[in-house]
Symmetry: C2
Subunit: 403 residues, 2 copies
């Protein structure tokens, strides 16, 4: 049996970024840039007013000076007149500064005076050249690399791409995911289970996890422990970049999954990891010229499934998308209460993380094992208890993984 760290290292080696493709930048949220983005414009495109007010010659400005108004320029207009000493142009935020002007006096410091409102009186002691003006190209110059290859596209980047005219971009393809729940005991959530049956909760939960992660998902429903059925479903699942199975990887006689995978060209990379819950987790790869297909066999118990998704599947999906192979965030917290626990494996235990007196504290919940999804729903983290030890005292430092 291998450690969590070793399992992650083996997954990392196979989770290479998918091919790149060209997409609309408005569809690119959550994707990673596969090429640098350069700007085709200066930003701002002209010396630009940062305030509503009057564009003036800075050296004119003195208490109560009166200037003749030349014209009015709003954003979207182009000034037609040159500002010279003794004149001013009314200007709105964002509008281009007229020739000759080198400062903007804010509207609150001005008053219209004279016949036909032809003059403006300024109530300012003076103005530095450049006041309330953003010079052309100060944020971005034509040809500048504004976003580098490898950058994750969040809403701010969508804005930057729009500003620079990058309406189509080259990005790493987001991996698609198929989900297949296996087991004769499973019925759909809308069915009332008969004796010996339970509802398939893993399928919908894994679908939601993948969807929330931003990946396209195909839910193949429930596969029975029967070779022909499983074989067909596994073939369909292998059309996607990643196939996640749940159930069918422990030692039961009907656990056909590894066999069916092998007959479909999926090679086992590891089976069983030294952790709890989740020990029977299985990982394999099918060679493919378009990028290897990754197959995760998660244990059938929903809590084991969730823990294995967070620990193993999520970083793989990130890496396939061109992001860092990033392992779950890990923090250190103090146990809020004593806790007794024995296991030969490191245990990821549903718990509540909270701040108390400026310290991070963690309280393990009354969890009843890997089939107890309801208690996990009340948790906001997993507390990692190291193997072998039995007694943990209040105040002990342990590692936690926020959910």
């Amino acid at each position: 049996m291998i450690s969590v760290e070793e399992a992650l290292e083996r997954i990392r080696q196979h989770a290479r970024p998918r091919a790149t493709h060209t997409i609309k930048s408005t569809d690119a949220l959550g994707s990673v840039l596969a090429a640098d983005i350069t700007s085709d414009v200066d930003s701002p495109p002209h010396d630009k007013a940062l305030m509503d007010g009057y564009a003036v010659v800075a050296s004119d400005i003195a208490p109560s000076v009166e200037l003749s108004i030349l014209e009015e320029v709003t954003a979207g207009d182009v000034p037609t007149k040159t500002v010279t000493s003794g004149t001013a142009t009314r200007i709105m935020t964002g509008a281009p500064i007229p020739k000759g002007a080198n400062a903007v006096v804010m509207i609150e410091r001005t008053e219209i005076v004279g016949d036909q409102h032809a003059k403006v009186r300024i109530s300012a002691d003076g103005a530095e050249p450049g006041l309330n003006i953003m010079p052309r190209g100060q944020s971005v110059r034509i040809g500048d690399v504004v976003l580098q290859r490898g950058r994750l596209i969040r809403p701010i980047e969508v804005g930057v791409l729009a500003e620079c005219g990058a309406t189509e971009i080259s990005a790493y393809r987001l991996p698609s995911v198929a989900i297949l729940s296996t087991g004769n005991e499973l019925v759909s959530p809308n069915v009332r289970p008969s004796a010996g049956q339970i509802r398939n909760s893993n399928g919908p939960m894994l679908e939601a996890l993948v969807q929330r992660n931003g990946n396209a998902v195909v839910n193949l429903g429930v596969g029975r422990d029967e070779r022909t059925d499983l074989d067909w479903l596994v073939q369909r699942g292998l059309e996607e970049d990643v196939l996640i199975l749940s159930g069918g990887v422990s030692a039961g006689v009907l656990d056909l999954v590894p066999e069916v995978l092998a007959s479909n060209g999926v090679e086992q990379v590891f089976h069983k990891v030294y952790l709890k819950p989740g020990k029977p987790v299985w990982f394999g790869v099918k060679k493919d010229s378009q990028g290897d297909k990754l197959v995760f066999g998660l244990p059938g118990n929903p809590v084991s499934s969730l823990v294995c998704f967070e620990l193993f599947v999520r970083p793989a999906l990130a890496s396939l998308s061109g992001r860092k192979f990033s392992v779950v965030e890990r923090r250190t917290a103090h146990l809020a209460t004593r806790h007794s626990r024995y296991s030969d494996r490191p245990t990821y235990f549903p718990a509540c993380l909270f701040e108390h007196e400026d310290k991070l504290q963690v309280e393990p919940l009354a969890w009843k094992g890997s089939a107890d999804l309801r208690t996990l729903a009340d948790a906001n983290c997993l507390a990692l208890f190291p193997p072998s030890e039995t007694e943990f005292a209040a105040g002990d430092e342990i590692e936690v993984y926020p959910l």
Copy 2:
């Protein structure tokens, strides 16, 4: 001018949860439950094997005892035979425990022996009653409230709903959002701007922010500073729960937006907030029997828009969805370098937050003002500099808002 806190309080008063509706639980990700969910099943539905192994009478177990094998039960089967002293049933993880048995000995501690493989030899010193068995109903009992009204539905809750047969649920309706960028200077991202023009980066950025937040979004594109056009677009926008405008709320002569809103029945709640960037932010409400429509007028500069979205719009969307009116997370960090800054308003400044020697440190970026979106894209937080002060020393504690 009001403070950020006062602005938030006024928004909160108008951001009441929308009506409830019945939706499929697989479509409910990101929604909030409007009614308690009770289970229609026990979980587990039967005393259940937690390991592959043999179901036995606990008191039989002694080193090298041999037991006759009655039958084999896998998950999904129903046992047909009663286990009595001297007998055992081969059992798989998840399968129902046969009558008479009160412990499961794990497969690794057993060996098949005898003619026709009819017996199993146990290598264990003994077994406590209940060993490797999860009793019926231990996680959930029929009629238990498993998820309470007000609970946000994450992937784990989707799993719990499936387990309990709650395929349709009552949830608060997620507010829909319309986005309208205004300004004569704006052209679409696919157009090369002429003199005086800039591309509309706010529209795509706000659309991405809303989409990422999980809300349906209608992007109305660009409205010119022209009454008839604006009027039509504002009417369309008011069909959604929330209308976000960007631009058109400063003091410029063509800033028609507040007028057009008023003529469409939108009452101003506030205009201008004591912060930088974002001072001209506008908020109003249109009374509606289906739930008041909220209208946010964000400043046209993209950085101001983003700051106002995070500070004001995001908590409103949460509250309309039945979640807490939760203000952006706030942390305290130490300035990594000295910083000079004077403003009469509290300033939210793009910055980088990082850990160094176990301390949270924050480094303000070389930001060129509210039109400089590119620098904001390199930030991972906003650093809040209080008004009036000019010099901040390295090591000073300031508040930061992670992005």
